[in-house]
Symmetry: C2
Subunit: 436 residues, 2 copies
């Protein structure tokens, strides 16, 4: 049991100007940017275009350096998108910020975002990649591969290490970056070290992001990181912050399908309740298989109560044994699922799980924490909590346990949420196997 | 300069039965498969479904073990797809085989294939993953992540280490697997070691794949691997074999865009001629920017003749410096581009590059080699060579050099193509930086 008291003044991780100057000093990015004026001159000579939908000559403008992260390569040319908006019925460009952008999860996610499969074939996007001083070279590599992929909808890529620059005008913030747990590090230490990052990123979002930015926190411990983030961003609706439990939901659906002998698309209404940790509750009481309650299809109550949850939770650990790495591809798919669930109407009668701010929930769960619950969306980026769910003693008891854990985590990060002095009385290690 | 004579009898790499039995002995796959009969019984109790398009109960049948690679997890249940074919207007399932399936390129590619973004939202697919004994555990990890991603169009996943099983009825074979070059290994040795693999895979395709299978060879040296493969598959049209030069084309387009100061979607008609090696010829003579010849837009002839080709070729090496790994995401995007170019009509006036069998080409290039050339497709999986291209002395001279290299590579693998005794008189190392 770890008891830690932390000094609230130690939380500042905003980068020092000397760290930022590293960027402009040693990176070849500027070299690319310097092309822009030359291009503008050349551009006047181009008078016709090759493909039917490309009849208008784009206007190339130079990048504004102030308050903007460094653009990369071909993306340093900012194009007048009006031509495409008119001839291709394109929507207005949206800004998507991704932290931990040099990591493996992001390496899958960024190419999905850029390909148009997430936001649709008429939605041009700008990717704003947040890395660390250590990963900035790798970020350039990511930007190079994005360039080489020639995605027509990807109109801007910028990279940086300062959240206050990278999050500028972000309409989505996909926060994947987190520090891994070092040897001998207690869960309380991890909560603090990552909590500091998320406090700072919350402040940055509050300062510079779109007022209606949607935030999905993936970096662990994601529920409490999301709580810290939203508490540090008082000018952004708390409802806009999500902690990713969608991979758990997907894994739960797959395990129920396997047990029932049906294809996974027959499994619906699966909720993950609570924390993205071993106290999480994959709900088989409300879940359905081919429209029937799971309990009417899978009669093995012992399997449901014991093995099912274990299978969902140990999945990441088994994967690491097999694959040698933690899941990146399927995590990235689940982030895409989470985004799509907010921008497309939820199918009639179904729902999806997301870790959301618990205030005003109809289930009697404590307020003031980020708790995974069943949600429905009209596809407008917003969601509402599902009312018609049932509980039994088993489910109530397990929900109470994950709720208690999240309340304990909250007390442990009070110094990061502006709620006084932190007191850590966390239960044992509840990190999911195979993560971090 | 390496001169090697190789024994034609040393080429057999087909796996010994004792290696195969490893699979059934030690893997937990069978455990999953054993669920199937149980499920069938349970299934009779399911009588209604939840979503509008899922009104028909699927028929679960057990997997035929004979001649089939091992199915994985939930995919061991084979479903009657007629319900989906009728209610969702789904096409008939297609089989896609991928070698090197546990590697990083495949890790990006498989999830793209499974998501439906390559073959479209009405095309259910079966993925057949070929690995090695060393990578079979990792392949299970890949299959687990595919399960957890709940892709509705992904109806079967099977894994194996015997090409004769995995390639059964394959309609596409995406051959990524290749041995990396070890320390001190000559290019001739690499040609032989990978040539043996591709000879065996050609034989396997010839024996068990669809008679019209389309084959894209990615593993290096990909042109000569593709040649070996097609020579060992006499019952499959030679025209169906491709060596991937699409990443080179994409990189060339990006570099031309950067130089001209335009977005990359304005660059068209870019051919990569010849070998996927440092003798490759990115063609700026026929390329167009906004419909105009490149030379009318980029007046810097020195840049075009010297720096342009170098920039394209050194891209992989620069990427490895930055990113620490060779390109996987953008390579996988270029494989998707190559597939899409064959299954969708080529835009009017444009073309794409692919390494194809040179017999009957209109450019005067030697016959009997796999040479990258400009192609157009009606979207039926087939292609025709583009006739209206121009040549100048510079282009002719460079094409002659890459042609000479491919003819030398061909002589070096004569023992693998049934053309006698190999004689290796390869020029210096022409491996692209950052590859293998």
């Amino acid at each position: 049991m770890a008891v830690t008291q932390l000094n609230p003044t130690s939380t500042k991780t905003h980068l020092h100007p000397s760290q930022l100057s590293f960027l402009s000093r040693s990176l070849p990015i500027k070299r690319h940017c310097a092309f822009a004026p030359l291009h503008r001159t050349q551009h006047a000579k181009i008078s016709c275009s090759v493909a039917p939908n490309q009849v208008q000559v784009p206007t190339v403008v130079t990048q504004e350096p102030k308050g903007k992260p460094d653009c990369y390569g071909v993306f340093c040319l900012t194009y007048d998108l009006r031509a495409e908006e008119e001839t291709r019925s394109w929507k207005k460009l949206i800004n998507i910020a991704v932290s931990g952008a040099a990591g493996m999860i992001a390496n899958h996610l960024l190419f999905k975002l850029a390909s148009g499969e997430v936001f649709g074939p008429n939605q041009p996007i700008a990717l704003k990649l947040l890395g660390s001083e250590r990963s900035i070279q790798a970020l350039e590599g990511v930007a190079m591969e994005l360039e080489d992929s020639l995605f027509p909808l990807l109109r801007e890529v910028s990279i940086g290490i300062d959240a206050y620059e990278v999050f500028q005008d972000a309409e989505w913030a996909l926060l994947i970056g987190a520090k891994p747990r070092g040897p001998g590090m207690e869960r309380a230490d991890l909560l603090d070290i990552n909590g500091q990052i998320y406090a700072e990123q919350g402040k940055a979002l509050n300062a510079v992001a779109s007022r209606n930015v949607k935030v999905i926190v993936v970096g662990n411990p994601c529920n409490t990181n999301a709580l810290i983030c939203l508490k540090n961003a008082p000018n952004i609706p708390a409802k806009n912050f999500h902690a990713l439990t969608r991979l758990d939901e997907n894994r739960a659906k797959c395990q129920l399908a396997l047990k029932a002998g049906v294809f996974y698309d027959k499994v619906s209404n699966v909720t993950i309740w609570g924390n993205h940790s071993t106290t999480q509750v994959p709900d088989f009481l409300n879940a359905r298989i081919d429209g029937l309650p799971v309990k009417d299809v899978v009669k093995d109550r012992k399997w449901l109560e014991e093995e099912f949850t274990e299978k969902v939770q140990k999945r990441g650990g088994v994967l690491i044994q097999k694959w040698g790495r933690s899941s990146a591809a399927s995590t990235s798919v689940s982030i895409v699922d989470a985004i799509r669930s907010l921008i497309t109407p939820t199918p009639e009668g179904d729902w999806f799980s997301s870790g959301v701010y618990s205030n005003g929930n109809p289930y009697g769960i404590a307020e003031g924490i980020v708790f995974s619950m069943p949600c429905r969306s009209k596809g407008d980026g917003d969601y509402e909590l599902v009312k018609d769910v049932i509980f039994d003693d088993y489910l109530r008891k397990r929900i109470a346990k994950t709720e208690a854990e999240l309340l304990a985590e909250k007390r442990c990060v009070a110094h990061l949420t502006g709620e006084g002095i932190a007191v850590c009385d966390l239960p044992g290690d509840t990190m999911l196997p195979g993560e971090m």
